[in-house]
């Protein structure tokens, strides 16, 4: 059981690497952005994993409850705002991709580079 307590971290590592692979290796710009959002989600998972306390509950104080354990509210606050910031920045990336497609007629990075060197 002790070793299963690390499973969340392993999933974090695997997700982070899947995202990193997509960002580096995939030539399609949209795929790169999806990889970036997987990378981002992996970091969110790492933070939220840290907030859990055994026997704890969501950090909403229950009136009258004595000796109730609560999970850590701080990582939750950080990730709560990061999710909304994440979608805004991904949207900004998407807008750039749309403009690149309108200018080059493709969203594959190797083809864009070819078009640039031809000029």
């Amino acid at each position: 059981m002790e070793i299963l307590g690390l499973y969340n971290y392993w999933v974090f590592v695997v997700l982070l690497m899947i995202g990193l692979y997509a960002v580096i290796a995939k030539p399609n710009l949209m795929k790169k952005l999806l990889g970036l959002s997987i990378f981002q989600a992996a970091v969110f998972l790492l933070y939220i994993t840290m907030d859990k306390v055994d026997g704890g509950t969501a950090p909403i104080i229950q009136p009258g409850a004595v000796d109730q354990l609560y999970s850590n509210p701080l990582p939750q606050v950080l990730i709560l705002t990061a999710i909304v910031v994440g979608i805004s920045t991904i949207a900004l990336g998407l807008a750039v991709v749309v403009r690149i497609f309108e200018a080059y007629g493709t969203i594959e990075d190797d083809e864009i580079q070819q078009a640039d060197t031809r000029e």
Partner: protein, 327 residues
Amino acid sequence: MTVLFGIFLLTLLVISAIGIVRARNLFVAVMLTGIFSLLMAANFFILDAADVALTEAAVGAGVSTVLLLGALALIPPNESRSKRVRWLVVSVVTLTAITLGYATFENPRLGDPEAPVHQHVAPWYLEQTPVLIDIPNVVTAVLGSYRGYDTLGEVLVVLTAGIGVLFLLGLPGAFGGRKTEDVARGRTYLSHHLVPQVVGQLLMPFIILFALYVQFHGEYGPGGGFQAGAIFAAALILFALIQGEREALTLIPPRVLVVLMATGALLYGSVGVLTMLLGANFLEYGVLSSDPVKGQQWGIILIELGVGISVASVLLAIYHAFASRGR
């Protein structure tokens, strides 16, 4: 039991992530992203993060999927690709994975109450929130009061990203040369599908009601401005999908939307300036009322309102920027 369920969900998460990267068709990849976010929200809920789960479900599985689809309508739907595997990338990724994986064995195991992260400032937040602010939801208290500067910064980042998208893509009637009248009128998206139209129409008032509940009940239960803003934007995006883009732009004119984007952030900032004028530090809400605890509550309600207005209007403006382009 919960541990097994968590492991099951995490494994599904990895599988869907691999699916996203491998899918040749971008439409498939985007739909898998929605599933990925929903699984992630379920995981957050298991890990006691109710507020974060609500945000991930509303933003990740809802709004972000729609935005990705809106962008996909403007770019080619397929990845054109040679099968070449890049060995250099694979080796870099594997090496990093091994290093990170080795480091995980030093981490405290899941749920360890002795972990360093639980020793620092968190116990103070949990002890002092009922005394200093007297609202049940500690997450809202930390977000609005203790870390108010941080949240103001995040709202400004969201606003800046929204402005960036509007500059890049334009918003008919507010940014760029196009007028609202140039946008195609009528039911363009779901015109052939009667059932989603009727059901969506029925759901809309309830979604808006739920957004208002999440906004103003955020001090007592999971919720707050970020979640409410996303849910409110989702309701209005649903309206645009059912009734048509032009109709949605007429309902909330883009000029109003742009003003609202700034109003939310301004409301947040002016609460800070107000507390300074009353003789306290920036965003020190205690002075807003004769009773410092009441003042804290007033401050949190006001800034959450600002967050909600800003997030809802930025997400809606971003959606309109994608949906009305080239139509």
